[in-house]
């Protein structure tokens, strides 16, 4: 009787652990899919970041800024006598 009882317990335990294995495996697959999706998002963001940096580099080229300042905004280098040198009291 004792032996049968033990057998039942062991069989049940095996069943439970088998189901747990299935469960965990399933969970890990789900997580893996999630991880892939996140990695994809990360890569897309990296691509965008790189492109934005390059875009900034292109828009902010010194030659372009200078051209815009001179031609569009009509900025000029001040004459020496138009400059006031300000001395900091500190």
């Amino acid at each position: 009787m004792n032996k049968t009882g033990l057998l039942v317990v062991v069989v049940l335990a095996v069943l439970v652990s088998a189901i747990a294995v299935i469960e965990v495996k399933h969970e890990s697959r789900k997580r893996f899919v999630e991880l892939r999706a996140l990695e994809k998002t990360r890569d897309a963001m990296n691509v965008e970041w790189g492109q934005l940096q390059l875009e900034q580099g292109t828009w902010g080229t010194h030659s372009r800024v200078e051209r815009l300042a001179r031609n569009k905004l009509h900025m000029v280098m001040p004459e020496m006598n138009a400059v006031v040198i300000v001395k900091s009291p500190l």
């Binding site: 492109q51 020496m80 009291p89």
Partner: protein, 597 residues
């Protein structure tokens, strides 16, 4: 008569059948068990490896190469992720109908794909195109051609383009540094791709991560001592000057005299590192570091400093340079014209070869050599730039009178632009030549480095020579066009006859200007070289000095270096903090830009 079989005989008859059935079942069962054992135990290793070979793949995850920035963190080289298109020829060869579309999208010549596939028929991997733009990659994947896939990679971009090309250098298609700082710091910049085992399905999709062997390690970011603003300014001015003077080439170097940092280094001709298809090998050279030349008159301040150091001379000692030439041995040293009896300071101001020779011949060759060597002439600058030659300064033991004389005005020794800038930086400080550096260095590090050098020139001589150099850009000087309004400039012109084909070439010159600013408290040293100007004018004071003036004016302003020689007409004011707090911001703003080229 009814025949009836006894149960016993029936039993007997079925027993045979039962045994037979049981026997068959037992054999079947045993066969299955044997097969199971065979697969699971005996052949396990073989089968497992076969299975893995079909589905388990070692994939690498690329990491990005470190960024190169200027001293303020402005990017000079960035890696951004892009895709490379690759194919499995064995699969792609089947879908002939999509070849044309692929060729079009990838910009390949028609039928080139056919040839490529024919060559690689027995391979499983071939790159169709490395590093395509993201939208091309998306359109290729939209075609859904079997056997075509993308591999992530990084592409290197150089936002500063040709402006910083020689200093920064570039990488090859495998992301390895080839030139410049990309090569010098390759070990620190380079990334290590991560590796992991994954299970892929029949379509090449990753279905399970089995094990990560190593994490991807991105490269280290490196800041250079270059200032992108100065770099651009110097580049723009040099390019204009080389073009206007129809010169062959040119270089500009700006160094911080207190730290030895290189703030800007530009050359002409240059190239665009983002597009190197039409590259000529001469364009690649960072001439400011790799090309040696005879420094000519720009060396005279050191000759004069050596003379002052002996105590035999001061700035006002008279030297007779009549009649405008001097015979040494069989050679005649000439001046531009006869300057008469002049003082030592005027030798510098007028750039008298006869005067410099007379000074050199009156002091010991050893002392002259020591002075030159003490400011770093004849050695490399310590910059660590690939391919930097050490300058040439022959041993004084072999100098005869003619060598002593010619070396005093810069012939018979050779330097690079960077080495000359370093010597001027030494002249601008305490006579110690700090090694040049492409990476930022603070004053404490500089102070420690300077303890390795033994100055030969005293503070007094250095100050006196700097004073003489100021007269060069003043009225009557040879370099008046190097002047910068508001600042005291100390500098020296140079016009060097080029050596080639066994002698000095007529009408082939190097126009030089080397200088220091502001002279009252030096911060920057700069060297401008224009190689073979073919305009009407070819001498340093006319060709190189204006470039010096324009770049130095911008550099001093950008570096926030206060003017040290303001005309009285310039208004000065003292900030009154109280009134600023109460008033609004002034609505008149003044643009701060360099002079128009």
């Amino acid at each position: 008569m009814q025949t009836s079989q006894s149960p016993l005989s029936l039993q007997h008859a079925y027993r045979g059948r039962r045994r037979w059935v049981l026997g068959v079942l037992a054999v079947a069962g045993l066969t299955l068990i044997w097969r199971a054992v065979d697969l699971q135990v005996l052949d396990k290793a073989f089968l497992q490896s076969q299975g893995n070979a079909r589905f388990l793949r070692l994939v690498s995850e690329p990491a990005h190469r470190g960024m190169i920035t200027d001293r303020h963190g402005e990017p000079l080289a960035i890696s951004t992720p892009v895709d490379s298109v690759w194919a499995n020829p064995q699969e792609l060869i089947e879908s002939r109908e999509s070849w044309r579309k692929l060729e079009k999208l990838l910009g390949m010549k028609s039928r080139s794909l056919e040839r490529l596939l024919a060559n690689k028929r027995d391979k499983e991997f071939v790159y169709l195109k490395r590093r395509v733009s993201p939208d091309v990659a998306a359109r290729i994947m939209a075609l859904k051609v079997p056997g075509v896939a993308l591999a992530p990679e990084y592409k290197r971009f150089y936002p500063a383009g040709e402006v910083a090309a020689h200093v920064v250098g570039f990488t090859n298609v495998d992301d390895k540094g080839q030139e410049g700082m990309e090569l010098v710091f390759d070990d620190r910049l380079k990334s290590i791709a991560g590796k992991s085992w994954v299970i892929k399905d029949r379509y090449g999709r990753v279905v399970e991560n089995v094990e990560r062997v190593s994490d991807p390690q991105p490269g280290e970011d490196i800041a250079l001592s270059i200032d992108r603003r100065l770099q651009y300014l110097a580049y723009r001015e040099l390019k204009a000057a080389v073009k206007n003077n129809r010169a062959d080439s040119g270089s500009v170097v700006i160094v911080d005299v207190h730290t030895g940092e290189i703030l800007a280094m530009v050359n002409q001709p240059a190239y665009n590192p983002n597009n190197r298809y039409r590259l000529k090998s001469g364009d690649l050279r960072n001439r400011a570091v790799t090309d040696v030349f005879e420094p000519g008159s720009t060396i005279k301040p050191f000759t004069v400093a050596a003379a002052l150091e002996t105590g035999k001379y001061n700035a006002h000692t008279a030297v007779d340079v009549r009649p405008g030439y001097l015979k040494v041995g069989r050679k005649i040293i000439r001046d531009f014209r006869d300057y008469g009896v002049i003082d030592v300071s005027t030798i510098i101001q007028k750039s008298s070869n006869v005067g410099a020779s007379k000074l050199a011949l009156s002091i010991s060759p050893k002392h002259l050599w020591n002075t030159f060597a003490s400011v770093g002439l004849g050695t490399d600058s310590g910059s660590g730039f690939p391919g930097e030659p050490s300058g040439l300064l022959t041993d004084f033991g072999a100098w005869r009178d003619i060598q002593r004389a010619t070396v005093s005005y810069g012939y018979g020794l050779s330097v690079t632009a960077l080495q000359l800038a370093r010597a001027y930086a030494a002249l601008a400080t305490d006579g110690r030549p700090l090694p040049s550096s492409f990476v930022p260095r603070d004053l404490a590090q500089a102070a420690e480095l300077s303890t390795y050098y033994q100055p030969v020139l005293s503070k007094k001589s250095l100050l006196s020579v700097r004073g003489m150099l100021e007269t060069v850009v003043k009225k009557q000087g040879s370099g008046t066009r190097a002047a910068v309004p508001g600042y005291r400039i100390a500098g020296k012109t140079g016009t060097v006859k080029k050596f080639g084909g066994g002698g000095y070439v007529e009408d082939s010159y190097l126009a030089l200007f080397a200088g220091i600013a502001p002279a009252s408290d030096p911060r920057l040293a700069m060297v401008v070289i224009i190689n073979e100007p073919r305009g009407e004018k070819y001498y340093g004071g006319a060709v190189a000095a204006p470039v010096f003036s324009r770049i130095m004016a911008g550099a001093l302003r950008m570096m926030d270096i206060p003017p040290d020689s303001l005309p009285i007409t310039v208004k000065q004011a003292v900030l009154d903090m109280q009134s600023i707090k109460q008033s609004k911001m002034p609505d008149r703003r003044v643009a701060m830009l360099g002079e128009a080229p």
